[in-house]
Amino acid sequence: MASVAMVVNGKSITREVEGRTLLVDFLRDDLRLTGTHVGCDTSQCGACVVHVNGQSVKACAMFAIEADGAEVATIEGQANKDGSLNVIQQAFQDHHGLQCGFCTPGMVMTAAALLKENPKPTEAEVRSYLEGNICRCTGYHNIVKAIMAASGQDVTAIAAE
């Protein structure tokens, strides 16, 4: 066992973990932050995307111990301070960017990373950035539309609702 300390959604935490503990298992099982999902567990699907020091990573392909000293952001920390949905989350609701919702935490975290890097992405840039996030319900059109809308762009010409 080793001690890890990190700041998760703004809160400092310290825990003992086994070397083999994945970051996603640490978040879900030790911290009970179950909004980060495990879809494939083979780093294909992106349901487990969180931010480590501001960068999107697949939490199923990183050990908790490697986040020692890092700032970690998960879907639980994305809402506005008053508890209302943030711009990206609200856009997913407005544009029906989810059906079953399983992939949504990863989609929202990836979208947040994209818009931080590239505040006004083109539709092609959004689709390319979502390469590592799989959704089996929506066909992606409304996810792309939601992210474009969250960036403040006119989405009337993009894929029918």
């Binding site: 080793a2 086994e18 070397g19 083999r20 994945l22 567990d41 083979t42 780093s43 294909q44 992106g46 995307v49 480590v52 960068q55 999107s56 990573v57 697949k58 199923c60 392909a61 990183m62 050990f63 111990i65 490697e66 020692d68 990836t110 990373a113 994209l114 950035y129 390469e131 590592g132 996030n133």
Partner: protein, 263 residues
């Protein structure tokens, strides 16, 4: 996953020391190794994470004009920091896997693994780069020794990769859409003394140089120079994604496109 110890040294010297123990293995970004551990295809007793070693991070220019990249530098960092100096390499790094994978995966990890469909081996062989380890310097032509096989000794760690910057270069990848690996990827680099062409994803022997194309492009750096050439399908990978003939054909097509797009 089997239980193992994990160490996180802060210096190359400490990492080399930790790797001396029985059953120890280096962990780069883990984007291949961690799924491999989950599938129980590898079961090291000790993992030595290289992610906390500051002296293995970053991109810089050496005094003799080479681009030096610390082995623990992520693909995302290479994509950003190499762009002003070596556009072909930055382009390659920016198309590996997906954004989250690029934020973790490292150049040293990719080269130590030497997956036959990985992108970086094509750039390293296609530029004649130098692999620097804790013990020695290895020329690219001596480093790659077949699928998942390299010149690295047990416990040897890649610390840096040094690229001679070409006048023009490009990497063209035909993506296997599920994995984002190269079904065929070709790196073309033009130097004052000739052109180098390296191919990944195609051969059962891993990354290789296409010498006939190098000669033709050294005489005339245009896609037309490839017209008379063909690639032998013998020894090419055949799987459900493409036959050996298909891959051999793609090698020529991707090489031509890389020449056209080279900047």
């Amino acid at each position: 996953m089997y239980a193992f110890e994990i160490e996180r040294p802060g210096t190359i010297a400490d990492a080399v020391k930790a790797l001396q123990s029985d059953g120890a293995q280096a962990l780069g970004g883990g984007q291949t190794l961690i799924p491999t551990l989950k599938a129980r295809l590898a079961a090291p007793d000790v993992l030595v994470s290289l992610s906390a070693i500051g002296e293995m991070q970053g991109v810089c220019l050496s005094d003799d004009g080479a681009l030096c990249i610390g082995a623990a530098t992520t693909h995302a960092t290479v994509a950003r920091d190499a762009a002003a100096h070596f556009a072909g390499l930055a382009h390659l790094a920016s198309h590996i896997g997906d954004p989250a994978v690029r934020n973790r995966g490292t150049i040293g990890g990719s080269l130590a693994n030497n997956d036959p469909a990985a992108c970086y081996p094509a750039a390293v062989l296609g530029t004649g780069a130098t692999i620097i380890t804790n013990a020695r310097q290895i020329a690219a032509d001596d480093y790659f020794q077949g699928m998942f096989t390299t010149a690295l000794d047990e416990g040897e760690v890649i610390t840096e990769v040094r690229f001679p910057i070409p006048q023009k270069s490009h990497y063209m990848k035909f993506v296997q859409p599920a994995s984002r690996f190269a079904l065929v990827g070709v790196f073309v680099a033009k130097y004052a003394d000739g052109v180098r062409v390296a191919v990944t994803g195609a051969s059962e022997e891993g990354v290789f140089r296409w010498h006939e194309a190098e000669a033709a492009l050294s005489a005339d750096f245009s896609p037309k120079a490839l017209d008379a050439l063909s690639v032998d399908a013998d020894g090419m990978i055949g799987d459900l994604h493409g036959t050996p003939d298909y891959r051999a054909h793609l090698v020529k097509v991707m090489t031509g496109r890389a020449v056209t797009a080279a900047t």
